[in-house]
């Protein structure tokens, strides 16, 4: 038995659109592989359209991958038997707490109904819901249980969403930008709550975010994705303090940081052209270090899967040697 809660292998997702004969295809996720350890927080960082949300949706089985495998404790999540168990194993916290709660149901119903379905409550459902509400800091719980979503604030909604998720006692929680719709001071509360719950319940999180600061605050490891591909993965502090891939550097350089001391001048390549190259490195049009070989041959992730991996020729020597 490995200590991986979740293993993702060669995940691909191709979206097709258009009418019958003329189909446009768009590869949202390309060969993404990673592992999520027990009790670990892995942040997937990328810009909009990088495929990070698509990956999250495939892991929670909201959409089907075009190819690839997702294993939970070694079992494929698309396995027929496992599918019914999935809600009790992997849960999701959505970006928009305003939409994630049905406006027609009370908070108590929203949290209690999944408990009923999965027979998770030991005493009465109401007691368990009150317990869950207290756990996520919606106190006094009695005040919240009969409220409708429109009667509570955005931060409280997100807490209610987390309470619903916790009720199903999952071991992995996929959080898709859980704080981006909230005010910053409320957002940090939610992040702290998630961190506390991880300690308490030994949860593993897959955190999807575009904010490197929150990724560093929450995560043990960070995985940077660009155009559907993993470009860099490694220990959070290492990735933030010593980024290797030019794209990670660009992201860091672009993130507002008034206390920045050393000005690492990375040449910002303006990208009027948002099309992606057909072959070679996806980042070649914007990369200041681009070489001829980057333009033709696609680049693998260099490095060992448990440490640092970078998809860039600059690190071929360095990381391949380590590997050996």
């Amino acid at each position: 038995m490995s200590n991986y809660k979740l293993q993702v292998k060669e995940l691909n997702k191709i979206f097709s659109s258009g009418v019958m004969f003329k189909k446009d295809q768009f590869q949202a996720v390309k060969n993404i592989s990673f592992n999520l350890r027990k009790g670990e927080i892995l942040a997937i960082v990328g810009e909009s359209g990088s495929g990070k949300s698509t990956t999250a949706r495939m892991i929670t089985n909201l959409i089907k991958p075009t190819s690839g495998e997702i294993l939970y404790d070694g079992t494929n999540i698309n396995n027929r038997k496992f599918k019914r168990l999935l809600p009790e194993k992997i849960q999701m916290v959505f970006q928009d707490p305003f939409a994630a709660l049905n406006p027609n149901h009370t908070i108590g119903y929203a949290i209690g109904r999944p408990l009923e379905l999965k027979k998770k409550a030991k005493g009465t459902v109401r007691e368990r819901v009150l317990e869950l509400l207290t756990q996520v800091g919606l106190t006094p719980a009695e005040d919240f249980i009969d409220k409708y979503p429109y009667q509570i604030s955005g931060g409280q909604k997100q807490r209610a969403v987390i309470a619903r998720v916790l009720g199903l006692e999952p071991e992995v929680i996929v959080a898709d930008e859980p704080t981006s719709m909230l005010d910053v001071s409320i957002g940090i509360d939610i992040m702290n709550l998630m961190l506390d719950l991880r300690e308490e319940k030994k949860l593993s999180y897959l955190l999807i975010t575009h904010n490197l600061g929150s990724a560093r605050y929450m995560a043990d490891r960070i995985m940077v994705v660009f155009a559907g591909e993993v470009v860099e993965i490694g220990n959070a502090e290492e990735v933030i303090n010593a980024p290797k891939h030019p794209y990670t550097k660009l992201l860091l350089h672009s993130s507002p940081d008034p206390w920045r001391t050393e000005v690492e001048e990375i040449e910002i390549v303006e990208f009027a052209d948002t099309t992606l190259p057909k072959q070679g490195c996806k980042f070649q049009y914007r990369c200041p270090f681009v070489t001829e070989s980057c333009k033709t041959v696609s680049i693998p992730l260099y490095g060992t899967s448990n440490d640092r991996q970078v998809r860039c020729n600059l690190y071929r020597e360095e990381l391949v040697h380590e590997q050996a």
Binding site: V184, G213, R216, S255, D257, T261
Partner: protein, 334 residues
């Protein structure tokens, strides 16, 4: 430096079914010529309402109920719509967060730019086209893009076009309300640098509004912090980076996970913003304030003007004797 914009005791109210909402309450600040002034705060704090009040974009039932706004010494609140329209674009222009989505999707960029130019300045069609090309060059967009429709441009490029339009008549003041919030950081960074560059070249003033305090600290000369419709602190950037004075500002700084320094737990701000129909007595921040004292609940703090700016907090009211204490408790907030 000369004051370009002076705002004194501005109040903006609107009636809601539950009662009068004081969206902006007694706000006063000045913007000097060539200065970048930032207004920061969380949603509903009144920062955008202030901007809308200055640029006459308030929609009923919201209205300016008191106070004065002067631009270059000219009082704006008394102007008729027609008189204000003459100032629009040539003296004040505004860039909104949603502006990039408000370009007309069925009209080419060129026509939209030229229409905007010709509406406010008399020039020949040819001159207008040349001016439009010049404007696009300013924001680093290839002039061939004039022939494109808005949907053929990326979000970042559309926002650049909007900034170019705002620059068209070289206004003295550009109000930017969350101009880059909807964009990715890399694109945001490019646009911010372009704005700073243009500001240096043309010397206009900017009222920059965002909730992103770190971004604001990177670009603004002075920063005003708003909470629940009131301006609670105005400080120079350097002073704020060294030590935020108002507990709310401190809390706000504590809410952005930093990219540097030792990893430690951030406190954020407990509780949530007050209801503006029934704001709490005394200081509106006291229910969330870690330093709240008895008088905070009873008396609204006065706006204290000192060498560092403006501060509205009881901790600083009596010669600031609690300041030292505050500094020691919040050590390491940076």
């Amino acid at each position: 430096m000369v004051n370009l914009l002076e705002i004194n005791n501005l109040c903006i109210d609107y009636d809601s079914p539950r009662g009068k909402v004081k969206a902006v309450h007694n706000v006063s600040f000045t913007i000097k010529k060539g200065e970048i002034f930032g207004l920061v705060g969380e949603s509903g704090c009144g920062k955008s309402t202030t901007a809308f009040g200055i640029s006459r974009l308030l929609r009923p039932p919201a209205q300016i109920s008191a106070g004065s706004i002067t631009l270059n010494g000219q009082e704006l609140t008394h102007l008729s719509e027609a008189e204000f329209d003459k100032l629009r674009w040539s003296h004040i222009s505004i860039v909104l967060q949603s502006a990039m989505n408000n370009l007309n999707p069925v009209i080419k960029i060129q026509e939209q730019l030229i229409d905007a130019i010709l509406a406010h300045k008399a020039m020949s069609a040819e001159e207008a086209i040349n001016h439009a090309k010049y404007l696009l060059r300013l924001v680093d967009i290839n002039e061939e893009r004039l022939a494109n429709f808005p949907h053929e441009l990326s979000g970042g490029m559309r926002q650049r076009v909007v900034i170019a339009m705002a620059l068209a008549l070289q206004p003295d003041l550009i109000i930017m309300d969350e101009p880059t919030t909807a964009l990715d950081v890399v694109v945001q960074n490019g646009i911010i640098h372009k704005i700073l560059e243009l500001q240096k070249d043309f010397g206009f003033s900017i009222l920059f509004i965002t909730h992103d305090l770190p971004l604001m600290l990177e670009i603004c000369d002075r920063i005003g912090v708003m909470y629940a419709g009131e301006l609670v602190e105005v400080t120079k950037r350097e002073d704020l980076m060294e030590q935020a004075r108002h507990p709310y500002t401190q809390g706000l700084l504590e809410s952005f996970p930093p990219l540097k320094g030792e990893k430690r737990r951030l406190k954020g701000i407990s509780g949530h913003p007050p209801d503006l129909v029934t704001p709490p007595d005394g200081c509106s921040f006291h229910p969330r304030c870690p330093y709240a004292m008895l008088q905070c609940k009873q008396k609204e703090p006065e706006k204290l003007h000192d060498n560092k700016g403006i501060i509205a907090c009881h901790l600083y009211q009596e010669g600031g004797h609690r300041f030292e204490q505050l500094q020691t408790t919040s050590e390491g907030t940076k």
